[in-house]
């Protein structure tokens, strides 16, 4: 399939570019030699311990966000649904912050992503309960606003109560997200949960396709809707939770990517799942490259670029679908 080939190639190219961009200015040849070679020198250290985990994490986070956005939109049959907007990322960040500030995260390694997953799970449950399959766009957006606002406020409170003077101003990292200064520790921390999430979500294709005809018709086509809903909830919570635990809340990826790729897969929700996974990886990698090129000395958050691209699109979508609101 042409779309698959193009998207895969895009991800590979952006992954390579991400490896070659950074404040230490050594050329591509030297970078690749250091990455693949055996020397233990400084360049190898930079390539293997800083650039490589950052690029890998970009792909992982992008897949998680794109896949979750496409799955949520397919289930809710609403192009406005995405984990950032409906408060799932924000709640995951709250879970992560609570785990860190109470010291639970330090007690055992996987506590951090588990706490983020729990936060995400609560948000997904709330959203489905409030704006479930028959709920419309208006309920969805309102519920999302409420959950995001609450999660954001509680996160800020948790950080303000921290004995650590640095924690107070780190609300911006949690709310906007960043891949800077991450290491393989974060890759291994997030990977098991993300992998589980991806497997759960990838299997929803058939059910989401059938849901095009509505729930009654889909059930009559043999789709177990309760099982589908459970897999969706767990899959989104696991993948978005893990992504947020290591990179903060990154919004709009799950909104922009499915929207842009929908025409290229014939609007089929099942096909959109893997297309959005690849597209999400490409988008996060591209944004992470851009933050390093635009303001190299400052710690520009990834979410800033996402919002610049995503928020206007969100407004456009609201305008287009306003008659259904």
């Amino acid at each position: 399939m042409r779309v698959f080939v193009i998207l895969s190639a895009l991800v590979v190219i952006l992954f390579g570019a991400s490896l070659l961009i950074g404040p230490a200015g050594f050329g591509p040849a030297e970078s690749l030699r250091a990455l693949l070679g055996e020397q233990g020198d400084a360049v190898t250290l930079v390539m293997r311990e800083i650039r490589l985990p950052r690029a890998i994490l970009g792909v992982m986070v992008g897949i998680s966000l794109g896949l979750s956005g496409a799955a949520l939109q397919g289930y809710l049959r609403n192009p406005l649904a995405e984990p950032g907007l409906i408060g799932v990322s924000g709640s995951a960040a709250l879970g992560a912050v609570i785990a860190l500030q109470t010291g639970v995260a330090a007690s055992f390694a996987l506590a951090l992503p588990l706490a983020a997953l729990t936060g995400a799970l609560i948000a997904v449950f709330l959203i489905l309960a409030l704006a479930g399959p028959r709920g419309g766009s208006l309920t969805l957006i309102l519920a999302g606003i409420a959950i995001s606002a609450l999660a954001g406020a509680l996160t800020s409170l948790a950080l303000n109560l921290s004995p650590n003077p640095f924690a107070v101003s780190e609300i911006i990292f949690w709310m906007m997200g960043s891949l800077a200064d991450r290491s393989f520790t974060h890759v291994w921390l997030a990977l098991p949960f993300m992998a589980v999430g991806w497997v759960l979500l990838a299997r929803l294709g058939r059910g989401l396709d059938a849901l095009t005809l509505g729930e009654d018709a889909a059930e009559a086509l043999g789709i177990r809707l309760d099982r589908l809903r459970l897999m969706l909830v767990l899959g989104v919570a696991a993948s978005v939770g893990a992504a947020t635990a290591v990179a903060g809340a990154i919004g709009f990826v799950g909104l922009v990517v499915p929207h842009m790729l929908r025409p290229f897969v014939g609007a089929r929700p099942g096909a959109l799942l893997w297309a959005s996974a690849l597209g999400g990886a490409a988008m996060v990698l591209a944004a992470d490259i851009a933050v390093r090129l635009v303001l190299p000395d400052r710690d520009l958050q990834l979410g800033v670029l996402m919002a610049i691209v995503g928020a206007p699109l969100f407004l456009h979508l609201i305008y287009k679908t306003r008659r259904q609101l």
């Binding site: 404040p23 230490a24 400084a42 930079v46 010291g103 000395d297």
Partner: protein, 275 residues
């Protein structure tokens, strides 16, 4: 952003030649002196006569920030507020040049003499601050004695610049430039500072990649606060651990913060670390 708060703390805490408002010493030495800055606290505690200093800032008793926290506990603390300082009825207030300008202006409007001492950027300025504080307090003799001790000890601890290449790396990747007191302490102890190689005169954020490429043999950092933060998590990065090596990073004590004779402790620690 928080880095600036901490840096602001460091800046506001150091003392220097008064850039304004330091008048000729009064004929009668002040009897009720209030200090509202960490570094003026320490200088005042070192030089004041018994009963002359009536209040120090709340940081003076904080063991994480003040090297004289035990003495600091002996004085009532103020929190740098105009109203509370006014109510102490001081005849002299000593502050830093980066102390809250609104408070300083308010105190002056109320007729109180406020002397502001600038931050110290080189070791030469330490005797100057001692002299200034001595003049302000009418304790010139005590100041002269301290200056003499300081000069002697400094000469003994100075070393030629053939020591290890060193870098400062604090939470959030904050590093110090060549125009800072810490740089002077480092180079006087005989170390070479990578800020010279990188041409960085101002302090600011240094990407971890650049630290690794610079490959210093000696890394100076701060001790972590309780609780967790992403800023401090950077110092747990495997790449940072690789640079720091098996010996670990050198933890800078709070003797480094202010331009007082206590910087000699910092110099001593550095010289010992070379062996």
């Amino acid at each position: 952003m928080v880095v600036f708060a901490v840096a602001g703390l460091l800046l506001a805490a150091a003392t220097g030649l008064a850039s304004a408002q330091a008048d000729e010493p009064a004929a009668v030495p002040p009897q009720r002196v209030v200090s509202m800055n960490l570094c003026t606290d320490q200088l005042a505690m070192m030089l004041a006569a018994r009963g002359q200093l009536i209040s120090v800032s709340d940081l003076a008793a904080d063991p994480d920030t003040s090297p004289m926290h035990e003495q600091g506990r002996n004085y009532p603390a103020n929190h740098g507020g105009a109203e509370e300082i006014y109510l102490l009825r001081p005849d002299l207030v000593v502050a830093g040049t980066y102390s809250d300008p609104t408070v300083v202006a308010m105190l002056r409007r109320l007729g109180i003499r406020v002397a502001q001492l600038d931050i110290v950027r080189t070791l030469d300025e330490v005797p100057e601050r001692l002299a200034t504080m001595g003049a302000l307090l009418g304790r010139q003799d005590a100041a002269a004695a301290q200056i003499a001790d300081f000069d002697a000890a400094l000469a003994a601890l100075s070393a030629p610049p053939d020591g290890p290449r060193a870098a400062f790396y604090f939470p959030n990747g904050y590093t110090l430039g060549t125009g800072t007191l810490s740089h002077d302490i480092l180079t006087t102890a005989g170390y070479r500072h990578i800020a010279d190689e990188l041409g960085r005169s101002a302090s600011g954020r240094l990407a971890l990649e650049l630290l690794i490429i610079a490959d210093p043999e000696f890394v100076i950092t701060s001790s972590p606060y309780p609780g967790a933060s992403r800023s401090e998590a950077l110092l747990e990065h495997p790449a940072f651990a690789a640079v720091v090596g098996a010996r670990g990073a050198f933890i800078s004590s709070n003797d480094w913060i202010c331009g007082t004779p206590l910087v000699l402790n910092a110099l001593r620690d550095l010289v010992e670390a070379r062996e």
